[in-house]
C-alpha cells in the first residue's frame, strides 16, 4: 500500500447506499433508521404518498402550461418526488430551506403553494413567496450561489443561540440543496469550508439525479459524490433518493445532529431526473431511453404504493382519491394561470432598493412621461375621430 491514501474503500465506486424500501416495496429493517421512523403512522405514510402524487400532478400540468405558452420555462422534478418529499418532512417547522430551482416537492412539503412557484416560471416575478414567512429562500438559478447563504443563515442561528440547547422544537437547522452538477462550483466547496470551520448547523443535500443537463455525474466526480464532503471531515451518507422513507430518516438524523450543535452533514440522494432538464431541453440527444426505463422501474411513488399495499395501509379508493385530487390541483393551476394578468411594466422600477434612490426615481419619472406621450397621442387621435 502506498503512502498516498484515498481512504475511499476500494474499488472507489464502492459506497454503500442506505435503502429502506426496495423498488418492489419491500421494507428492510435498519437499526439506526427505524427508531427515527417509529412515530410514523399509516396516516403519515399515506400523506407522503398523497404529497408525491400531488406534486407530480402539478409538475405535469406545469409542463403542459409551458407548452401552451403560459410559462416561459418549466424545470420538472419528475422522478425526484421521493427525495424531495422525504427531506421536506425530515425538517422541523423552524428550519430554513435553501433550494435550487427544481425543489417543487420540497416546497410542497414546506407548505408553499405550487401556484406560487409558477410565478417565476411564468415571468411575472423572480420569487413568488416571502422567504421570511415561509422560511424558504428564493429559488436559485445561479448554480451553487445559494450554498454560502445557507451557511451564513446557519451562522446567524448560532449567534441567536438557537442551536445546541437540546430543545428540538426551537433549535434550528438549515437545509442547503444543490444538484450533482452544482457540486463542482467553487462556492459549494467554500460553503463546506465555512460550515466545517464554524460547525454551522447546516445540512447539505444533493439530489444526484445523474445529469447536469447533458453531462453525467461521472464528469463531476469519479468517486461517489457522498464522499466529497469527507475531505472536510463533514460526515456524509449516500441514500436511495427514490425511497421517501430513507430520505426522511437520514434527513431527520442529519438535521437533528446539526440543530444539536454537532456541525454540518452531507447527504447524497441518488435519484433520477425522469423528464428533460427543462422544457427547453431535449434529452434524447444525450441519454439512452433504456436508462430512463431502468429508473422508471425504481419510481418513488410506485414504490411507496407497493409498500403500503403490502401492509394493507392503502386501497384503491385512496389512490384514486389522490389521483383525483391531483387532477383538481392541476385544473386549479390551469385556471389560475390563465386568469393571471401581466404585471404593470412600471413595476420594474420597484424594489430595486429598499431606500429612496434618485436615479431610479428619475428614470421612473422619465418613463412615466414617455408613456404619457402615447396616452396624449391616443387621446388626441380620439379627439380627431
Amino acid at each position: 500500500m502506498s503512502v498516498f491514501r484515498t481512504t475511499i474503500p476500494a474499488p472507489p465506486q464502492d459506497e454503500p447506499m442506505v435503502q429502506l424500501l426496495a423498488p418492489d416495496g419491500t421494507r428492510t429493517p435498519h437499526d439506526e433508521l427505524d427508531p427515527v421512523l417509529a412515530h410514523l403512522t399509516g396516516e403519515d405514510l399515506r400523506g407522503f404518498y398523497r404529497d408525491m402524487v400531488m406534486i407530480r400532478a402539478a409538475d405535469l400540468e406545469a409542463t403542459a402550461l409551458q407548452r401552451q405558452g403560459q410559462l416561459g420555462l418549466w424545470a420538472s422534478a419528475l422522478g425526484q418526488e421521493g427525495a424531495q418529499i422525504g427531506i421536506g418532512h425530515a425538517s422541523r417547522p423552524q428550519d430554513y430551506f435553501v433550494p435550487t430551482y427544481r425543489e417543487h416537492g420540497v416546497a410542497w412539503a414546506r407548505g408553499i403553494e405550487p401556484m406560487t412557484l409558477l410565478e417565476m416560471f411564468r415571468g411575472i416575478s423572480h420569487c413568488g413567496w416571502d422567504p421570511h414567512e415561509l422560511r424558504t429562500h428564493p429559488y436559485m438559478i445561479v448554480l451553487g450561489a445559494q450554498t454560502p447563504h445557507a451557511v451564513g443563515y446557519a451562522m446567524g442561528i448560532q449567534r441567536d443561540g438557537a442551536v445546541g440547547t437540546g430543545d428540538v422544537e426551537t433549535d434550528t437547522a438549515v437545509l442547503a440543496l444543490f444538484g450533482d452538477g452544482t457540486s463542482s462550483e467553487g462556492e459549494v466547496s467554500e460553503s463546506f469550508t465555512f460550515a466545517a470551520s464554524f460547525q454551522a448547523p447546516v445540512v447539505f443535500y444533493t439530489q444526484n439525479n445523474q445529469w447536469a443537463i447533458s453531462v453525467p455525474t461521472s464528469v463531476q466526480s469519479r468517486v461517489p459524490l457522498a464522499q466529497r464532503s469527507r475531505g472536510w471531515g463533514i460526515p456524509s451518507v449516500r441514500v436511495d433518493g427514490n425511497d421517501v422513507l430513507a430520505c426522511l430518516a437520514v434527513g431527520r438524523i442529519a438535521l437533528d445532529a446539526a440543530r444539536a450543535g454537532e456541525g454540518p452533514r452531507f447527504i447524497e440522494a441518488l435519484t433520477y431526473r425522469m423528464a428533460a432538464h427543462t422544457t427547453s431541453d431535449d434529452p434524447t440527444r444525450y441519454r439512452p431511453r433504456a436508462e430512463e426505463e431502468e429508473w422508471a422501474a425504481k419510481d418513488p411513488i410506485a414504490r411507496l404504493r407497493l409498500h403500503l399495499a403490502q401492509s394493507d395501509e392503502i386501497d384503491e379508493a385512496f389512490t384514486t382519491a389522490c389521483d383525483e385530487e391531483g387532477h383538481e390541483l392541476a385544473m386549479r393551476l390551469h385556471h389560475h394561470i390563465h386568469a393571471m394578468p401581466d404585471p404593470d411594466p412600471r413595476e420594474l422600477f420597484e424594489h430595486v432598493y429598499a431606500e429612496p434612490h434618485p436615479l431610479v426615481a428619475e428614470e421612473r419619472a422619465a418613463y412615466d412621461d414617455y408613456l404619457a406621450q402615447f396616452e396624449d397621442e391616443a387621446q388626441d387621435q380620439e379627439g380627431v375621430r
Binding site: I124, H126, S214, V219, L348
Partner: protein, 327 residues
C-alpha cells in the same frame, strides 16, 4: 459557391468548425457543448467531428473553465470557451479580470493569451433570471481584454475566425435573441473590416444611431421607420466595444451633428457613457445636440413579462431620435 444563407448561430458553428480545421491547437470547452452541442446548439456536431479532446464537456465550474483555458494557452493551445449564459460569467470574473486580462502584461509580453470567451448575451427571449444580461461594460473597462459583438451572420462567422486568430483574449458577445436571424455568409473571401472596425450599416445625414449586437437590427428598423418620415439616420454597427473604432464614430457624428446610442445594458455606467464622453470631447463644436442614450434602466433585469418595457424598442429609439433632432 462559398456564400450561403445561415442563421447567426450556424455561422458561428461554421466559424468554429473552420477554425478547428485550420489549427490543431484550437479547442472548445464548456458546459454541455459536446454531446448536446450547447444549449443553443452553436457547437452542434463539432464533438462528433473533432472528438472529445478538442470539444470538451467540462465539469460545471466557470472559474475553472476559464482558468484551465489560461493554462492551455501557456501550453500553446488556443481555447475557445463557452459560457452558457451571460448571467453565468460571474463565477469566472476573477479569472477573466485578474488573469486572462493581465497575463500578457504580467509576463512582460512573453506569454500570449489567445483565448476566446463566447457569451450568448442580452435579453428578449422570455427567460428566467440571469439569462438576459448585458455585461459588456464590466469587461470593456479592464485593459487587456478585447470585447466584440457581431450582429450579422457574416460578422458572426468572420469575427469568430478573427477572434480565434487573435493573440489577445477576446470576449465575444453573441446576440442570443438573434441567433436564428439569417444572413449571407461568404466563408472564403476575408472581409476588409478588421475585428475591431465599426461598420456603417446604413448611411444617413440627419443623425447617427449607434448600436451593437442584438440592438443593431433595432437601430436599422428605426432608421427605416424614420426614413418614411423623411429623416435619414446613419446607423453604425459598432462591432467592437473594446477597442472602440472612434474614428468611424466621430467621422459620422461630424457629418450628422447628432448621436443616439442604443444598448440593452443599463444606461448608468454603460459603455454608451464612454462613447458619449469621447464623442463629445472630439466633436464638441460639431455636435448640435447632446448625445442621447437609450438602454436598460438602473434596475436588475426584470421578470420576463416586463422585459419589453425594459429593453429599448422602436418607440423609445424614435423618441430619442426626435429629442436629439429637436434639440
Amino acid at each position: 459557391m462559398s456564400t450561403m444563407q445561415l442563421p447567426i448561430a450556424r455561422a458561428i458553428t461554421q466559424g468554429l468548425r473552420d477554425a478547428l480545421r485550420a489549427d490543431d491547437h484550437v479547442l472548445l470547452m464548456g458546459e454541455d457543448i459536446g454531446v448536446l452541442g450547447g444549449v443553443f446548439r452553436v457547437t452542434d456536431g463539432l464533438q462528433a467531428e473533432f472528438g472529445a479532446q478538442r470539444v470538451v464537456d467540462t465539469p460545471l465550474a466557470e472559474a475553472a473553465i476559464v482558468g484551465t483555458a489560461v493554462g492551455l494557452c501557456f501550453r500553446g493551445y488556443r481555447p475557445v470557451v463557452e459560457i452558457q449564459f451571460d448571467g453565468f460569467v460571474f463565477p469566472a470574473f476573477n479569472q477573466i479580470t485578474t488573469q486572462v486580462a493581465k497575463m500578457h502584461y504580467r509576463t512582460g509580453g512573453r506569454v500570449n493569451m489567445p483565448l476566446v470567451i463566447r457569451i450568448p448575451h442580452g435579453g428578449g427571449i422570455g427567460a428566467v433570471e440571469h439569462h438576459s444580461e448585458s455585461p459588456e461594460a464590466l469587461f470593456a473597462h479592464t485593459a487587456g481584454l478585447r470585447v466584440v459583438a457581431p450582429s450579422t451572420a457574416q460578422d458572426a462567422y468572420w469575427m469568430t475566425r478573427q477572434a480565434i486568430e487573435s493573440e489577445d483574449p477576446i470576449i465575444m458577445l453573441e446576440p442570443k435573441r438573434r441567433y436564428w436571424m439569417k444572413g449571407d455568409v461568404d466563408t472564403e473571401r476575408r472581409p476588409e473590416l478588421g475585428l475591431h472596425d465599426a461598420a456603417i450599416a446604413r448611411e444617413g445625414t440627419d443623425a447617427t444611431l449607434l448600436a451593437w449586437g442584438p440592438s443593431v437590427p433595432l437601430a436599422l428598423e428605426a432608421a427605416a421607420t424614420a426614413a418614411e418620415d423623411g429623416t435619414e439616420l446613419e446607423v453604425i454597427d459598432l462591432r467592437s466595444i473594446s477597442p472602440l473604432d472612434i474614428d468611424t464614430i466621430t467621422a459620422s457624428v461630424q457629418r450628422t451633428g447628432r448621436l443616439v446610442i442604443v444598448h440593452e445594458a443599463p444606461v448608468f455606467g454603460g459603455i454608451g457613457g464612454e462613447i458619449a464622453a469621447r464623442v463629445t470631447e472630439s466633436c464638441f463644436y460639431s455636435l448640435e445636440a447632446p448625445v442621447l442614450r437609450v438602454g436598460g434602466f438602473h434596475t436588475p433585469y426584470p421578470p420576463a413579462r416586463m422585459e419589453e418595457a425594459y429593453l429599448p424598442d422602436l418607440d423609445r429609439v424614435l423618441d430619442a431620435v426626435d429629442r436629439v433632432l429637436d434639440a
